[in-house]
Amino acid sequence: MLSRRSALAALAAPALPRLALAEGDARPSITVAVQKIANSNTLDIARENSNVGTRHFACYTEPLVDTDWITTLRPRAGLALRWERVDERRVEVALRPGVRFHNGDEMTAEDVAASFGPERLFGGEAGVAARVPPDVRAQGRAVFPGLSVEVLGRHRLRFVTGRPDPALDKRLGHRIGVVVSRRSLEEAESWLAWARRPVGTGPYRVAEFRPDNALILEAFDEYWGGRPPLRRIRFLEVPEVAARIAGLLSGEYDFACDIPPDQIAEIERSRGFEVQGGLIANHRFITFDKTHPQLADPRIRRALSLSIDRASIIEGLWAGRTEVPRGMQFPFYGGMYLEDWPQPRFGLAEARALVRAAGYKGETIPYRLLNNYYTAQTPTAQVLVEGWRAAGLNVQIQMRENWTQVLEAGPTRALRDWSSTVFIADPVSNMPSVWGRNGSHPATGEWRNEEAFAAVEALETEMDTGRRRAAMHRLLTILEQEDPAYAMLHQAANFTGKRRAIRWRAAQSFLMDFRPGNWDV
């Protein structure tokens, strides 16, 4: 029989505060509203190699080498306690003992070997390896070219590459290099079943995954890094930004991700809410198709870069919350960062002179554009076009629906937007995959430069830091000055709305860190 008291309690239950307290477990549960949980409907970051997947993967799976995403962006001990370079092709790793997977097994070198082997990344002809999808295999080969792993003991391994690799130790911190339970790979009824519930070592384990809807994680109390601060995390897919903000302000969500800069003031106008976040390890730039007749002359490409008023874009469209980098590199590269490399300049007079010298007669330069795929993409494009017009360049925006239409070869492909994210503290994180001989831009046929390819190869194989720095300098000189491949816009930024009472720091990445030490109320 339903009593009046229980009926009233049932009616009032939904109105209880968001941080529900479970009986016997005082830790809060939270809801994080995201635009998208996963593009591929899977949770293996090697398959879901995307910004949206980056948001949550580190909650349940961890890379072999950890990265301090909140402050220094430098590698630090995680599942690997120590790593030591043996020679130009080999790195030895000592694992942290006593680390448990979500299935209760202790992590050993065998699990790491399977995670970096055919069973998970590279695929094979038989057994578990035969189930690995072809695109995962390709991702594995692209990030860990020619890698093999030798087990030296229960907690010791050696990583070996086919050719000298100066960044091998750093690659061990790449996001697709997460460690998963070998037994879980072998026992899963299919690759998809495993990839929907990967068994890792993270502070939270996957409790439920409803594709295109919700991902529910529960605290894994045997986590090696201490008891997780949250009982439950629910990532909820809320595609509309207005709905995410409304849900945050109404108290349904504790976090709302992907907040556009023009909404920051609106959220912070409500007492009790704030927007966190800022620069992330991603560059936004405009790329050039130098096979287009109007862009064949490098002076036109230089003029396009010179006539970009980056300061106005950052102030007007980003609320001043991002900055212009010193070329396609990041300070956290450490010894590989060229601190004296100049920021791109704004110089309309110089741009006009270059346009005149190139004999440009006002022919149309098409600019293929997606509708705000990137934050503030369309308004940025409108500002750019006006700047180019002031320099005497006739650029016309052509809206496109998806990347296939943007990348399609043809007479209307000249300018387009692009961005590049780095995952490890070294230029090999993105330079080969974008500008190398087999990189994305040479693959589309928009830009090729043999000397640049040689510089990229030097970055990938040269062991001497001085010579690598020289190669990086040469590469940037070609890419940004001599034979421009792109015009840098700014560093990307990412913003997350949250309740002010929650003491939590956003990472310099899309990744959300809910480990012990980054949560308090």
């Binding site: 999808p133 072809p134 998809l192 295109d212 809807n213 809320v238 998806n402 692009w418 087999n438």
Partner: protein
């Protein structure tokens, strides 16, 4: 009767073939699923591997023949996003969508028809003007605007209802109301104009002149004759039960067929899109068939003509 049914079924089959073919051509010519699903930053070799795995490197005509052959043999294919069976993927979303669209349909019928009748019976009165003003407002405000307004009022300002998601009945209230209001407005306008047309007919005047009570005239003579255009609109509404909540499901983060369709089209996930289109076409064709049969039941002249 059999000839009538056979002709309509044949017409439905041709419609479905055209829909499937059109969707294939448009989706495959306007985007590469590999590029879209793998993401902009995917290495070129991963894109190539994906294309090869899904047969996207074959000539388009061969892909079409392979795809069409599979449909004819009952195989609607697998989602390119995660390899799951497309039918299973769509089927598991149907209950969520029906949980919104059926109550919304009841609101449309329960509000729209009485409002339209009332307005017609009080033509040019204050009641008529008030009902029509609300109907025009409900008809012209797009559902995503109405949805967000309701969220601002009932979720953000008053805190009575959740703004989105699918956790329980409270989460369904705002999307149902959003859809219900718009549909009720449409029905009210159609019902009013149908009723006005019927009320001006000679047989209504005759019945009144014979001394039949006005209530009996309305129920016995006006309403059945005004039902035909209204039933047509209701048929469309029933036909869109499966995929008629695309916008509302997106605004309220409701994981139904509509949102699946949006995601599948954006990803050029052909098998899933085709599966939904087939389902929508089948629902629409069935609804139209039922409407055709209802015409006969409502209008004896049509029944005699068909016989």
């Amino acid at each position: 009767m059999l000839r009538f049914l056979g002709f309509r079924l044949l017409r439905a089959a041709v419609t479905i073939v055209l829909v499937v073919s059109f969707a294939f051509v448009v989706l495959r010519l306007s985007g590469d699923p590999a590029q879209i699903i793998m993401g902009a930053d995917a290495p070129p070799e991963a894109i190539v591997a994906f294309r090869r795995a899904w047969g996207l490197e074959e000539p388009l005509w061969r892909q079409y023949l392979r795809y069409f052959g599979a449909i004819v043999s009952g195989d609607l294919g697998r989602s390119m996003r995660d390899g799951r069976d497309a039918i299973a993927l769509v089927a598991e979303r149907i209950p969520a969508t029906l949980a919104l669209t059926i109550p919304a349909l009841l609101i449309k019928l329960g509000l729209g028809i009485p409002a339209g009748i009332t307005a017609a019976l009080h033509r040019n009165s204050l009641i008529d003007r008030a009902v029509m003003m609300l109907a025009v407002a409900g008809f012209t405000v797009p559902s995503f605007v109405l949805g967000l307004l309701l969220v601002l009022l009932f979720a953000v300002q008053l805190g009575w209802l959740p703004s989105g998601g699918q956790e329980g009945w409270r989460h369904a209230v705002l999307p149902i109301v959003t859809m219900g209001i718009g549909g009720a407005a449409v029905l009210a306008r159609f019902t009013r104009s149908a009723m006005l047309e019927v009320l001006g007919q000679p047989y209504i005047r005759t019945a009144s002149a014979k001394g039949v009570p006005w209530r009996a005239v309305v129920w016995g003579h006006a309403l059945p004759n005004a039902a035909i255009p209204t039933v047509t609109i209701i048929g469309f509404m029933v036909g869109s039960l499966i995929a008629g909540a695309v916008v509302v499901e997106s605004v309220f983060s409701w994981p139904g067929v509509g949102r699946l369709l949006v995601v599948a089209v954006a990803n050029r996930d052909l098998a899933v899109v085709q599966c939904i289109l087939l389902l929508v076409a089948a629902t629409m064709v069935t609804a139209n068939l039922v409407v055709d049969l209802l015409y006969g039941a409502l209008d004896p002249r049509l029944r005699q003509r068909t016989a």
